[in-house]
Every structure is written in C-alpha cells, then in structure tokens.
Amino acid sequence: MAYKHCIDNNRCKGCGLCVSVCPKKVLELSSEINTKSYFPVYQARPEDCIFCATCCIMCPDVAITITITEETEDRPKQPV
C-alpha cells in the first residue's frame, strides 16, 4: 500500500502557493504551459514527498489529490 500524489495539470493555475508551503521543496512550476496557458506545478523531487497534503490544503483549485494505491509506481519527473 502506498500513497499516490496526483496533480491535475489542467486545474492548476500556476499560482505557486503550493510551492511556497511544501516542507520538502518537492514542487516547482513547469516551463511548459497547460491548456489554460498557465505554468502548472509538478513534482520536481517526487522521492522527497512525504504525502503531508500541505500542498493540497493550500491549493485553491483542488488541483492536487492524494490517493492510496496498491502498487508503488514509478513517479514521473516531468508533469503528465
């Protein structure tokens, strides 16, 4: 059983609030725009993520969710 950190690329408005509050400095804003022309956030250092959900709490757009998953997935470095 593991946690899965999921960023909805197209809900994200690139406001950066989550980046500023992540205690492990996992998050960064991407250099590629999403469908709304924002620079969305992505996990730059996903291996450091402790699933504290502080980013989720801070996000005004419910762009980040954390679920429980059966397998441990390879966490992608680039935004999906």
Binding site: C15, V21, C52, I57, V62, I66
Partner: protein, 245 residues
Amino acid sequence: MGKTFAKPEALSDQHTHYCPGCTHGIIHRLVAEVIDELDIKGRTVGIAPVGCAVLAYNYFTMDFQEAAHGRAPAMATGIKRVRPDLIVFTYQGDGDLASIGMGEIVHAANRGEKFTTIFVNNAVYGMTGGQMAPTTMPGQRTTTSPFGRNVEEVGMPIKMAELLSTLETPGYITRQTVIKPKYIVRAKKAIKKAFQYQLEGRCFSLVEVVSTCPTNWGLTPVQALKWAEETLLPYYKLGEFKTPD
C-alpha cells in the same frame, strides 16, 4: 505518515474563474469539506453574493440562491424563518457585507438569525476591478484611492468581527485567515464550529476570513500572502470574539 486528500462532494468539478492564487478557492473547499463531514448537503442552501464569488453557485453541489448585492443576510433570514430545518450559509465579500449590506448583516446578527456567514475580507473590491473597500487599509492604493486611503477623508477600516461582537444577542463571531496552512486548519475548525452551532439551532455565526487579492493588490500570489500577514493581520486580529456560551 502520509494522508489522503480528495475533492469534497459538496464542491463541484468545475474549474473556478477565480484568479490564480485567490483564496476564495481555499475557503470554498473548507466550507464544502465541513458540509461533507457534517453530512448536511441535502438540507443546505447556500447564498451567493455579488462580487468575485457571484458564481460561487457553480462550485457547490447543493441548493443555492443568488442574492442582490448585500442582501444575502435578508434572504437567509427569509429561508430560516420559513424553513428552520434547512442549513443556510451566506458567502460574502467586503463590499457585499461591509458596505452596501451593512444594515442587513447587523440586523440579522442582532435578531440572532440562525444562519452562518462566511465573510471574505481582502481589503478591496475585487470583481469590479480593485476599488476601495470599507476594509481597505490606511495608505493602501486602490483604483478609487489612488493616493492611498486617506483616513482623514474617509475614516479607518471597519473591523466587522469586533463590530458584530458588540451586539448583546448571542452569536459565534470569529476571525480567521487562510494565508498559511496552519491557519487554514484553524479556519476549517472555526467554520465547522459555526455550522455546528447552526445544527444545534443555537445562534447566528460569522467567520471572517482574512484573504488575499493578488490581482488587485498588484502582487504575485505568494507576495500577497506575505502582504496579508504583514499588513492585514496586525490590524484584523485573529481569534474568537464571541461565543454563545
């Protein structure tokens, strides 16, 4: 060590029209989480204001009414008086509550109407493009106070939580903020407490939430959090100003 996090049921899937970094999104979510946790969605009616949150009804999944500017507390009064079993909340900004709607909120609070008001205080009129609000800080530049709020001319900003807490009628009046995760957690507790008082049929409740408006403050979302902390929090003090106990 970790935890899960999901969108609450009471919040719709719709992407909001709010600006990047606008704290409306956080506050909407907290209200929705509380409604989910108390399992009251089926008997809740929300009332949307005029202001940036005029479209709030698109972001919640329960019955909603749209009020005229400032009149939400009167509409809430109407609902609670004919259907006391419904859980009613108004969601209002600075202009809606502290300017045009000042009469309605004071009297609803004074009559002890048993609904909950979420008051979003970001010291400016957002939707109409950044004009001065009754809550604008001294010296703060807005589109109608381009030289900074001159308190000699237009007085000091209004502290709504304190003002309403002077009423003799019992109520739950608190000021919170969402500019930091720890404050967000406290704000949610306060919002839940407010709704719980309403569930008990106890009293009027108001949660003032010090918020940011990056666009009209001319700051980035993260800078706006900082400005709120440095300039708003010293004036708009957090805490519980009145409880019905």
